[in-house]
């Protein structure tokens, strides 16, 4: 798993690539929480996620909960079919703010 962090017009975009599993999710979790610590807007790009498990989903949930506390903006973007399958199984597709692509996610006001 790799990730790429960039700033798009004041929104931090973290792009995850590969498998988000028990091995990699602690790193993902830490990265997302650090971003939320410094920034008010965070988009996670899941377009290149080939696999995500419950621990990866848990990292996203934790980041979502922190953003709510801080009234920060947190959205998912370009969720890959593999990741979407797991999010919908977990009924989280209705909890997270999900955009079709990164541009829409960064442009959205929240």
């Amino acid at each position: 798993m790799t990730f790429d962090v960039k700033d798009v017009n004041g929104t931090v975009v973290v792009a995850l690539t590969g498998d988000v599993d028990l091995q990699s999710s602690p790193v993902v979790r830490q990265q997302l929480l650090e971003c939320l610590d410094k920034h008010k807007r965070l988009v996670v790009d899941l377009g290149a996620v080939s696999y995500i498990d419950s621990s990866g989903v848990a990292s996203l949930v934790e980041a979502f909960q922190v953003s709510r506390k801080k009234t920060a903006y947190f959205a998912l973007a370009a969720v890959s079919p593999a990741a979407m399958r797991v999010l919908s199984l977990a009924r989280l597709d209705k909890v997270f703010t999900i955009h079709a692509d990164v541009n829409a996610a960064t442009a959205a006001q929240g």
């Binding site: 498998d19 091995q23 419950s54 990292s59 593999a82 797991v86 199984l89 977990a90 009924r91």
Partner: protein
């Protein structure tokens, strides 16, 4: 004057008999004496004897009245005549027969109507009319047994003669002697039977003790009863897992009541130990059972324990028993293990929720001696009590001997030849040979592959190996020609199940053990068997969380259940800690030819 006031009994000196009468008398007396003495049961010959006497003197009826054990009641034990009054009971002083017993005088009552002591109630009941009575006491020495009555002479002048009385008196003496002898014989027979029953009880009790153990067995015991039956016992009960239950106990009191309680307690131990794991809980259960039915203030002191020869560790509970001695052979020193619970059978609710207190002892190559007070309080050759110091000295003296021989010699040192012990003596030794068997092989090295297996993968339970397992799952799905979506779900379920093994079964310790995954084709399903070598998990604790509860963690089980058709724990094969099976129906085949 309607009733006579003075006794109507006549004691007349009989006139001399003719030679023929003497011969007849002697012949009858000789006959009757022979019948009485040859009989094993007086009641059997009594009736025919009465008939012969009655006919001989020409009387209508005759009966034996015997005093019962309390000497308060007369019972008719046999009778001859037109009415059967066998079993009739009268007060010991009632009637003419009662008077005869009280005064010890034989006599003739020629007209009962003139005798104030005559009781008409029996006649009233039976319809029989008593006119005259001949009566003689049955006596041996000063012991009053009863009386013999002959009623209503109906030959000649219908009057009983002094010669009739003399004859009855002689016969009554012979009968009394016969009755007395038979009663003595009965008593001896009863004593002999009781002795025989006691022997049988002792034999059954010996059978309750364990068989002699082979010389290299770690636990040995000996029991020497003070009487035929014993209130002490011990037991040795090997378990299938190699550990051994043992106990030693002393029932309060001696004799048959103690022996019966011993039998009950030893059966309880044997029965309850088979399903017990913990000596404290075992003794607590025995105590509850004893308290439920025990009475007479009897109780049992007991040391019960579980010895593991593989580790040399004994876990024991001491309920009011003599403190066992742990002998350290290297240092030649003793440690005493006092009782920290009261004896069994006194009260329930003594122990806490974990039962009676348990002491854990590492024998470290030493020996644990457990004994009853029959040993410490035994009299030695010098005349004093052996005491704990004496026990210690005997153990030291016989250390070099094999355990079975050692116990015999220690018991023999206090069992003086020809003298019974004053209390039962029981002694048990638990020996640790100090040899530790090799640690158990890493579990799960060998076990059968599951039926229909396509592939088996075995990896250390580490997060960075999950990708290997996922790849394997993907390849297994590909082997079964499954589509991508189906494959993704299978991969998710397998991955989540493996995560649970790493995080929960192995407690999150990376590489604490292995994970073995079998992918197997099972008809129209793919089965995945996930095995670990961790201690069994409490499956009741594993549940799918409420999906509306949005928080990190706890999602795995929900995901597994969502994407499989069945997911469950199965009894693991030997050597495997947990076995979790996933089943997912294969997707329907797509006809590519269109």
């Amino acid at each position: 004057m309607t009733a006579a006031t003075a006794p109507a009994i006549e004691t007349i000196t009989p006139p001399p008999l003719s030679a023929a009468e003497v011969k007849d008398h002697l012949s009858l007396i000789a006959d009757m004496t022979l019948v009485f003495s040859a009989s094993h049961s007086f009641d059997v010959v009594a009736k025919s004897a009465l008939e012969r006497v009655a006919k001989y003197v020409g009387a209508e009826a005759a009966s034996f009245f015997m005093l019962d054990d309390s000497a308060q009641t007369l019972i008719c034990t046999a009778c001859y005549g037109p009415v059967d009054i066998t079993g009739l009971r009268l007060p010991a002083t009632a009637g003419i027969v009662g008077r005869c017993i009280q005064t010890q005088e034989a006599g003739i009552v020629r007209d009962v109507r003139k005798d104030a002591d005559f009781g008409a109630s029996v006649d009233a009941k039976t319809g029989f009319i008593t006119k005259s009575i001949l009566v003689a006491p049955l006596t041996v020495g000063t012991q009053r047994l009863g009386a013999i009555e002959v009623i209503n002479k109906n030959v000649g002048d219908n009057l009983f003669s002094p010669n009739d009385l003399a004859l009855l008196h002689t016969l009554s003496r012979a009968a009394a002697l016969a009755i007395h002898n038979l009663r003595l014989t009965d008593k001896l027979v009863l004593q002999e039977r009781e002795r025989h029953e006691l022997e049988l009880a002792a034999e059954i009790q010996r059978d309750l003790l364990p068989q002699a153990q082979s010389k290299d067995f770690p636990i040995h015991g000996i029991n020497v009863p003070a009487r035929a039956v014993s209130g002490d016992f011990y037991d040795i009960l090997p378990r299938p897992d190699g550990r051994i239950w043992f106990n030693i106990a002393d029932v309060s009191g001696k004799g048959m009541n103690a022996a019966l309680l011993m039998a009950k307690t030893s059966s309880l131990f044997r029965c309850l130990a088979k399903s017990a794991e913990h000596p404290g809980q075992l003794l607590n259960a025995i105590n509850s059972e004893l308290c439920e039915t025990n009475s007479h203030g009897m109780f049992v002191t007991m040391v019960g324990g579980l010895f593991d020869p593989a580790t040399g560790v004994v876990r024991l509970t001491n309920a009011g028993h003599e403190p066992p001695l742990l002998f350290d052979i290297m240092r030649e020193s003793f440690m005493s293990i006092p009782a920290d619970a009261p004896p069994l059978g006194i009260a329930t609710g003594i122990a806490g929720p974990d039962g009676y207190p348990v002491v854990e002892l590492d024998l470290k190559g030493g020996s644990l001696y457990i004994f009853t007070d029959g040993l410490t309080e035994a009299t030695t050759f010098g005349g004093g009590m052996l005491g704990l110091d004496g026990v210690r000295a005997l153990i030291r003296d016989h250390t070099e001997e094999s355990p079975d021989l050692r116990l015999k010699h220690i018991a023999g040192a206090v069992k003086l030849p020809g003298k019974p012990l004053h209390d039962d003596l029981t002694l048990l030794v638990v020996e640790d040979n100090g040899v530790r068997s090799a640690p158990p092989k890493p579990p799960g090295v060998q076990f059968e592959a599951n039926a229909g297996v396509i592939m088996r993968i075995r990896v250390p339970a580490m997060a960075d190996r999950l990708k290997l397992i996922r790849t394997a799952a993907m390849q297994a799905a590909a082997y079964c020609s499954c589509n991508e979506a189906w494959t993704q779900d299978l991969v998710l379920a397998v991955d989540e199940a493996c995560q649970n093994i790493i995080r929960h079964a192995y407690g999150g310790v990376e590489g604490a053990g292995d994970i073995v995954v079998d992918f197997a084709r099972d008809g129209d399903s793919l089965s995945v068997f996930l095995m670990d070598f961790a201690p069994p998990v409490d499956t009741a604790q594993i549940k799918s969380r409420d999906i509306n509860d949005v928080r990190p963690g706890g999602l795995g089980v929900h995901l597994i259940k969502s994407v499989t058709d069945d997911a469950r724990f199965l009894p693991p094969p030997p050597g495997v800690g947990n076995l979790f099976k996933l089943t997912k129906r294969l997707p329907p085949k797509v006809d590519c030819q269109g």
